[in-house]
């Protein structure tokens, strides 16, 4: 149904030879014949750093191919991120998930085990689910033209869903945009917007936190009363002090009866 373009090389960083096998059967010719085409193209590449360096050779290939097979509405893709290819009603979406290394969790001493193998890529709310290859590439096969939503589920990272437009008129033209911040993507390379820390971080022990706790406040208040009150009393006018003491003596020891209404009179 679709042109599936497979790339045999894994981009090992050496000059790689991209071999493409293209098989195309459009919906109409499906029954009558199968059109198989093989093309081998070698692209010298010094060293692959990012996705940008891959797209360039690819666009060259696609130009060459389009010249050879103008009738076949084809677009090249393969492992270069972004862009789809396909026959009239089914396309492939290819992309890449990139998780920067040494970001947060990794540096904190524990890395999530098998972090790449637990990443899932979901199309249209789980209609299709795919997984990442070791180099982070993924692809969805046989996707109809239209506007799609790609979500990445990775524990520990927050990915924005991506809106992907697969155009039927000019196949292979893929437009992608992050839905969270409406940022357009020139190629389908998905990176986490931020990391997710699921646990509260324990505050290290400090005197302040101890003092701020209810018990600390209680002790603090007690101490204040115990040591500051006498000081206040000392600062009082001796005349007044005497009067107060006088008063207290006249009342005697405060007893329960004196507290009761009417008890004060006896």
């Amino acid at each position: 149904m679709a042109f599936s373009c497979k790339n045999s090389s894994k981009f090992n960083g050496f000059s790689s030879c991209i071999k493409m096998v293209m098989v195309g059967t459009s919906a109409i010719m499906m029954q009558q014949r199968t059109l198989a085409m093989e093309a081998s193209l070698c692209v010298k590449k010094s060293k692959k750093k990012g996705a940008d360096s891959v797209t360039r050779p690819n666009s060259q290939i696609s130009a060459a191919m389009a010249a050879v097979t103008p009738l076949l509405l084809l677009l090249l893709l393969s492992s270069a991120p972004s862009f789809s290819s396909g026959s009239r009603n089914a396309y492939n979406i290819n992309g890449r998930v990139k998780i920067p290394q040494g970001l947060g969790l990794g540096t904190k001493g524990y890395a999530l085990p098998g972090r790449m193998s637990n990443v899932k890529v979901l199309l249209n709310g789980g209609q299709n689910i795919t997984f990442l290859r070791p180099d982070g590439y993924f692809s969805f096969h046989n996707i109809p033209a239209g506007t799609h939503l790609i979500e990445v589920s990775a524990i520990g990272y927050f990915f924005s869903p991506v809106r992907v437009d697969v155009s039927a008129r000019n196949p292979g033209k893929v437009q992608a945009a992050l839905t969270e911040n409406r940022k357009g993507l020139s190629e389908l390379v998905l990176e986490p917007l931020r990391e997710e820390q699921y646990y509260e971080i324990r505050e290290p022990f400090s005197i302040m936190s101890l003092l701020k706790s209810p018990m600390g406040l209680m002790v603090g208040f007690m101490l204040a009363v115990a040591f500051l009150m006498p000081k206040l009393v000392e600062n009082m006018d001796p005349e007044e002090m005497r009067r107060a003491q006088e008063e207290m003596r006249s009342q005697g020891v405060p007893s329960l009866s004196s507290l009761l209404p009417g008890g004060a009179r006896n």
Binding site: G126, R133, Y198
Partner: protein, 984 residues
């Protein structure tokens, strides 16, 4: 006054903002538990690697591909494929790659065996739909590449094992050709593809495995036709059954020549048996046929001579063949005998001799053996030992070795249909004994460790010790009811028809019961469990009764097959009784009435719209008669887009004089125009939800009255075009309409249209609000909307004096037939993720503020405060509104990582979230299930009514000691001072 106190109350709750649910890393596992499952195993492949840990790779009916430890049954790694991505076959290639074929043979993936990383993925297309086969030949090489042979969608592929590249392919385009087997004779470069064409034609293709060239094509015609599957008895012979199922056809295609022989089954077995089916097996020279009652094993001798080797009426399961040496194949047979199973391992060419014969005691609650997988190992004395993996009727997986069950996995729990809860028994004398600390030293040591922990002086080892101590010492796994209501039993019904009771404390299985009523029987061909209901919840006067649950099941997939009810005691896990109904069960309505033994009344609606009352007792009937005119219900007809309201009419008229059967009448119907609207979601409030207050105080000391009715229904409809997947429609031709319908009168209280939006809709209804999640095509983002509904007819009760003097209408009875004056408020927000499930927290008294629990597409559960979905949010709230706790309006809802209830875990394949109130008002119990299970406690407004787990008792003690010391010191000081005073 009351209003004031409310205001204060709300203030009190709103003071604790933001990350309400948050957890320290060392608190993981204190309140929550997480269990990982895989589902019913479909296929298992043993890893033959000599070095390293022994593994078995399995694929399951839940679309899980997993690598299990053969020693303990633990999961090394696991991947859950998409719902439509059904696994067709798995195998191990080159000893280090797991190859899976899925999605009807159109996706081929390779996984790294040690760590589960996907290595490559290929999409295989073909001209037409067909059976799919995955073959991993050991010796077929192509340019130093190991080759996989895949037949799928009418096309044969040879695929490189290293990178998934298609080396060659060959189409089988003949219109009617149906492939039955793809055979790779060992040691040759040929592939045989055999199949049927035009029902009576046998076709054989011989293909060069090196380049896909068609070498030979032979066909032969059989007038009697074929039925069912074929069984491969050797690399050049297949056995098939004719269309009547009574004649065996032995077809051999040696050297490309087709020859055949017909043997009527009646020649082999004397008594007539009726139509038979072939049980596919890969054991060379032997195949099995099965009729209604008998399983017959037949040996093929020479060219098409058949001989019966065994005939058995027992349930029997056979494994695939396992080649143990160059020319020897072994296979395992399992037979049932009451409480035991007999395992025999035989050589393929020697039926009478047994390599191994063992009996294993088997729990009756596991049912029959459904599948057997055999593996061998070499013993120290260089003889062969065998281990078998068996899949039981309840979907559990067991490993048998040397007559013992080495490990077992309860994988039935991966497919939960329904959940309910039950209380544990009340603690009585002798029921349980409180554990006393062993000795003083231990006790002191523990407390020293804890103190070190609080002072942040503990080393990692100490931390681990503290953690394990906390887990052990907590009383959470006791088998009695606790004061806070945290300990309960979760009763779950699985797809296999088994009930499990899980303890909420640690998630262990307290009991399990394979429902006898869900067993296949003559009357009930394919029983399926539907729902669980609380049947008897004893409290008050029926305290001595054990609580029980009602399991409603049905005898077939269609809704007009007759129903079965079973009643199960939740303390003992025994079936009290079961009822085979003579009517269907379309709808079950638990009524809010109980009879004298606390049995809850249930109304079952059958396909003919008769209502049946259960329990069938006179007491229940008299209660029911009293409330006869107050019972209303509704039904939703998805296909026609009709919602109907019903009420009871009179006793059943007609053939049966059953006083528990009632006729019903239609009260109203809402018909949605089928060309513009299609119902996709209906939600009502939970029956047992408690609402604490009807009034809501808003910022300017005004009161709003919530419109609280149990009979509100939320319905979402979409444009028929937009009912498909995302991206299938343009925003212009898609819309979503949300309705609030009163189910007693059929009155539409509110209707709102979201243009350019589509489903799927996930909604939750609670108190007077509904929150729903849908997709906005214009913004291409998910959206969540909230609708709150308020009662205007009570708005003039604001005057406090009226309340004081009793001149309010709050206590006047409400009838839904009087036209309600309601106003609604709504607001929409963007939300990042797709949802799989949505729920809301529920507490005992409904005082605690609510949180929404969102099951995201990443299989996590996110808690989101309801205050984020408050229609009164504005961009710039006034000071008063801020005091009330209104959050400034933002475009999208925040996702705070600390408020993931599941923290760093995933509830793989999440399907549902259930919330149960604890006795403690602040706390709600949350159970999320899918392929995994997860349970935790949540306190949406923090635990304001109890001390938290990390409350420092040590600090409290120190404080008290310090205070006492201070008292003594000050006393002494004052005494001395007084003395000085006196001397002066």
């Amino acid at each position: 006054m009351a209003i004031r106190s409310f205001f204060l109350f709300i203030l009190f709750f709103s003071s604790s903002l933001s990350p309400v649910f948050s957890l320290y890393e060392d608190q993981v596992g204190l309140m929550d538990w997480h269990q990982q499952y895989i589902g019913k195993v479909k296929q298992a492949v043993f890893s033959s690697q000599r070095a390293g840990r022994k593994r078995v790779v399995v694929s399951t009916e839940e679309n899980v591909i997993a690598s299990l430890d053969l020693r303990h049954g633990e999961i090394f790694w696991r991947h859950l494929l998409g719902a439509d991505d059904v696994i067709d076959g798995i195998d191990i290639g080159l000893g280090k790659y797991v190859i899976t074929l899925s999605s009807g043979g159109s996706i081929l993936r390779s996984w790294n065996l040690p760590d589960g990383q996907m290595v490559w993925e290929s999409s295989l297309q073909g001209p037409k739909h067909s059976k799919s086969f995955l073959l991993v030949p050991t010796n077929l090489k192509f340019d130093k590449d190991n080759v996989l042979v895949v037949f799928s969608n009418g096309r044969l592929h040879a695929i490189s094992c290293i990178d998934g590249e298609v080396l060659w392919k060959k189409d089988f385009e003949a219109e009617s050709f149906e492939v039955q087997q793809v055979i790779l004779p060992p040691g040759s470069d040929l592939i045989h593809v055999v199949g049927f064409a035009a029902l009576s034609q046998f076709e054989m293709y011989q293909i060069n495995a090196k380049n896909g060239e068609l070498l030979k094509h032979e066909s032969a015609s059989f007038s009697s036709g074929f039925s069912g599957q074929v069984s491969l008895v050797s690399t050049e012979t297949v056995v098939a059954l004719d269309s009547t199922g009574s004649i065996l056809l032995t077809i051999s295609f040696q050297d490309g020549k087709i020859s055949s022989q017909q043997t009527p089954i009646s020649n082999l077995v004397e008594d007539s048996l009726g139509p038979a089916v072939i049980i596919p097996s890969s054991v060379s020279g032997i195949f099995a046929i099965k009729t209604d009652a008998v399983t017959i094993f037949i040996r093929v001798i020479g060219k098409g001579n058949l001989e019966v080797v065994e005939k058995t009426t027992h349930e029997i399961a056979v494994s695939d063949a396992l080649s143990i040496s160059e020319d020897q194949q072994a296979f395992a047979l399992i037979q049932h005998a009451s409480s035991e199973i007999h395992l025999t391992v035989k050589l393929a060419h020697d039926w009478d001799g047994n390599l191994l014969k063992e009996s294993v005691k088997m729990d009756r609650q596991r049912g029959l053996v459904h599948k057997v997988f055999i593996n061998n190992y070499i013993r120290t004395d260089r003889s062969y030992g065998f281990r078998v993996l068996i899949v039981m009727e309840d979907h559990s997986l067991l490993l048998l070795q040397q007559g013992e069950i080495v490990w077992s996995r309860e994988d039935g729990l991966a497919s939960i249909i329904d959940v309910t809860t039950s209380e544990l028994p009340v603690e009585r004398d002798g029921v349980s004994v409180a554990k006393v600390e062993h000795n003083l030293f231990e006790w002191l040591k523990g407390h020293m460790l804890k103190l070190k922990g609080t002072l942040m002086l503990a080393s990692p080892e100490d931390m681990a010790a503290i953690q394990s101590m906390r887990l052990k010492s907590s009383e959470k796994s006791k088998m009695t009811r606790d004061h806070n209501g945290f300990r309960k039993l979760l009763i779950v019904l699985t797809r296999a028809g088994k009930l499990f009771a899980l303890h909420t404390g640690d998630g262990r299985i307290v009991w399990s019961y394979l429902l006898r009523s869900l067993h296949k029987s003559e009357a009930c061909q394919s029983p399926i469990g539907l729902n669980l209901y609380q049947w008897q919840v004893p409290h008050h006067h029926a305290m001595d009764e054990n609580p029980s649950v009602l399991v409603v099941s049905r005898c077939g997939p269609s809704s007009d097959t007759s129903g079965v009810l079973s009643f199960v005691d939740t303390y003992t896990g025994k079936e009290l009784s079961s009822l085979s109904l003579d009517h269907a069960v379309v709808q079950v309505i638990p009524l809010p009435y109980t009879d004298s033994t606390e049995q809850r009344l249930h109304l079952l609606i059958d396909a003919d719209k008769h209502a049946h009352l259960y329990p069938k007792t006179s007491g229940a009937l008299s209660i029911f008669k009293r409330e006869f005119s107050n019972i209303y219900w509704y039904s939703v007809e998805d296909q026609n887009g009709i919602i109907k309201g019903h009420a009871l009419k009179c006793k059943c008229t007609g053939e049966v004089a059953d006083e528990f059967c009632f006729d019903t009448r239609d009260l109203w119907s809402v018909v949605f125009p089928s060309e513009s609207e299609k119902t996709i979601a209906t939600v009502t409030r939970k029956l047992n939800e408690v609402v604490h207050t009807q009034a809501k105080v808003v910022a300017d000391q005004d009161v709003m009255y919530k419109y609280i009715s149990r009979n509100l229904l939320f319905v979402a409809t979409v444009a028929p075009k937009g009912s498909g997947e995302i991206g299938s429609v343009t925003p212009e031709e898609s819309w979503l309409v949300a309705y609030l319908i009163d189910t007693v009168t059929g009155r539409i209280l509110h209707r709102v249209t979201h243009h350019g939006s589509q489903g799927p809709v996930h909604a939750v209804f609670s108190e007077n609000w509904v929150v729903y999640h849908y997709f906005n095509l214009r913004a291409h983002r998910y959206e969540m909307s909230v609708i709150e509904i308020y009662d205007q007819s009570r708005a003039d009760n604001k005057d406090v004096w009226k309340l004081v003097l009793g001149k309010h209408n709050l206590t006047s009875p409400i009838s839904l037939f009087s036209r309600p004056e309601v106003i609604t408020k709504s607001q929409s927000y963007f939300f990042t993720h797709s949802l799989k499930a949505i729920a809301v927290t529920s507490t005992a008294k409904g005082i605690t503020s609510k949180q929404l629990l969102l099951g995201t597409i990443g299989d996590q559960v996110l808690a989101l405060d309801k205050r984020f979905l408050d229609p009164r949010r504005t961009v710039n709230p006034t000071q008063l509104e801020k005091e009330e706790g209104i959050i400034p309006l933002t475009e999208s809802l925040p996702i705070i990582p600390q408020s993931y209830v599941t923290h760093a875990l995933r509830v793989e394949g999440l399907r549902g979230i259930i919330t149960v109130p604890a006795k403690l008002e602040s706390t709600t119990l949350v159970f999320a299930h899918g392929v995994d299970l997860f349970f935790t406690q949540l306190a949406p407004s923090r635990t304001y009514d109890s001390l938290t787990e990390d409350f420092s008792y040590a600090l409290l003690l120190i404080t008290i000691v310090a205070l006492v010391a201070a008292i003594f010191v000050t006393w002494r000081l004052s005494e001395r001072k007084e003395l000085q005073e006196k001397w002066r």
